[in-house]
């Protein structure tokens, strides 16, 4: 006999209070947290091909008005979306200029580990 598990649970996230709907709550839900990344752009190397802006799944990058030494408009993170990077590193992989990379913010991970122990 297969007993149907509870369907569609509305979850309230502690941070920001954004509600997300899940069809089924995963059993190891408490163990996982979406990592938060910091976008670092090496402005001197950028040639404004805009691949990172176009292919970011969270759309957190835009073209800025600031120009680098060679006159290219360097991308920047949208104000207010600094903590929305989910460390998929697609921008890092797709940048042909070796000009953008992501650093995972470590404080969040430590908190996560503490949660796991308890």
């Amino acid at each position: 006999m297969i007993i149907p598990v509870s369907i569609s649970i509305v979850m309230a996230l502690p941070e920001g209070g954004v509600e997300k709907k899940y069809w089924r709550k995963p059993l190891d839900f408490h163990k996982h947290k979406v990592p938060i990344g910091k976008v670092i752009i090496i402005a001197e190397r950028c040639k404004a091909c805009n691949y990172c802006i176009e292919f970011c799944p969270k759309d957190i990058l835009v073209e800025s008005e600031e120009r680098n030494k060679k006159g290219y408009k360097v991308p920047m993170v949208v104000e207010g979306k600094e903590k929305e990077c989910i460390v998929c590193r697609h921008c890092e992989d797709i940048c042909p200029e070796f000009g953008i990379y992501i650093e995972e913010i470590e404080e969040e991970i430590e908190e996560e580990e503490e949660d796991d122990e308890t």
Binding site: E44, K47, N50, F55, D93, I94, P96, E97
Partner: protein, 301 residues
């Protein structure tokens, strides 16, 4: 990630690059940088030590790759990266030799070397960056230019049939054949790591945008538009299954403004040239010994 990475605070790949040479000379939106980064990450993923990494490049835009890479590299003459790599492999079979070059270098002037290295099954990893034209010399038509597309030497449209590179490689005898676009960065990296670990002649074709040489006469717009074209193909994939595992390479022709078949085309095993060569030696020694014995008998008689 290797040990060198912790020394630098800059880009995670900088340890494998001559970072003081950057920014590089390639045009905005060129795909060679993406392929080079995927190659570096694939080397790390395949866990190949720094002493065993060797990269050979030919002439053309992609030939600059060996200048930016901080490891053992050879910048060979036009069309001859595969003979150079063959020599390296035969002199020291422990090395992991890979060739990164363009379509004009590997298939126009170096076409003969390519098919014969594949036939012999030399243990090389060949990565071809296909941008459909000769980019460095100003955008002339080459052996991979699709029919009806315009270049500066074919202003009324190309009438020559282009090479179907996966079919050429697999029918010549390559053991691993794949094709990706520069948008499939992760699949490209994983495929490269697989090819680096594999014994035998492996071939990966990477479709790359060339906004200056090929994009301009064909009105492809900004480099981002060309990448979006790949993305449209990408979006269609789930319905049309254009990613095909073990697809028939004969049907992988590239036509102008049509979807490109990507995926792994061939994955087989065959004894490599170096394996067969090492097996030769004991036979030769036996024959030599027999000849010496016969000579000794004659002397006694």
């Amino acid at each position: 990630m290797s040990e060198l990475d912790s020394v630098f605070d800059a880009h995670p790949v900088d340890a494998h690059l001559r970072a003081d040479m950057l920014p590089h000379i390639w045009c905005p939106g060129c795909g060679i940088g993406i392929v080079l980064k995927a190659y570096i990450k694939a080397l790390d993923k395949a866990e190949i030590p720094l002493e065993k990494r060797i990269m050979v490049s030919g002439i053309g835009c992609s030939g600059r790759a060996c200048i930016y890479l901080n490891q053992d590299c050879y910048h060979s003459t036009h069309g001859r990266p595969i003979p150079f790599a063959t020599g390296l492999k035969l002199a020291n079979p422990d090395l992991n030799v890979s060739v990164i070059s363009g379509d004009g270098d590997l298939f126009a002037i170096g076409g003969n070397h390519f098919i014969h290295a594949a036939r012999r099954n030399m243990d090389l990893n060949v990565i071809c960056i296909n941008n459909f034209n000769y980019g460095m010399t100003g955008g002339q038509s080459g052996p991979t230019t699709p029919v009806d597309s315009k270049t500066i030497t074919t202003p009324y449209g190309n009438i020559e049939r282009p090479f179907n590179l996966p079919h050429l490689a697999s029918s010549s005898g390559a053991t691993y054949v794949a094709r990706w676009t520069t948008l499939d960065v992760r699949r490209l990296r994983d495929s490269m790591a697989e090819a680096l670990k594999k014994k035998g002649f492996t071939f990966i074709e990477v479709i790359s945008p060339c906004p200056t040489g090929y994009g301009r006469p064909n009105r492809r717009g900004e480099p981002i538009d060309e990448m979006k074209q790949y993305q449209e193909i990408w979006d269609l994939r789930e319905d049309n299954w254009i990613i095909q595992e073990g697809a028939d390479p004969r049907e992988a022709d590239i036509r102008l403004n049509e979807s490109i078949v990507v995926g792994v085309f061939a994955d087989t095993d065959r004894p490599t040239f170096t394996d067969l060569y090492s097996q030769l030696d004991p036979v030769r020694k036996k024959k030599l010994k027999e000849i010496v014995r016969e000579d000794e008998r004659r002397v006694r008689e």
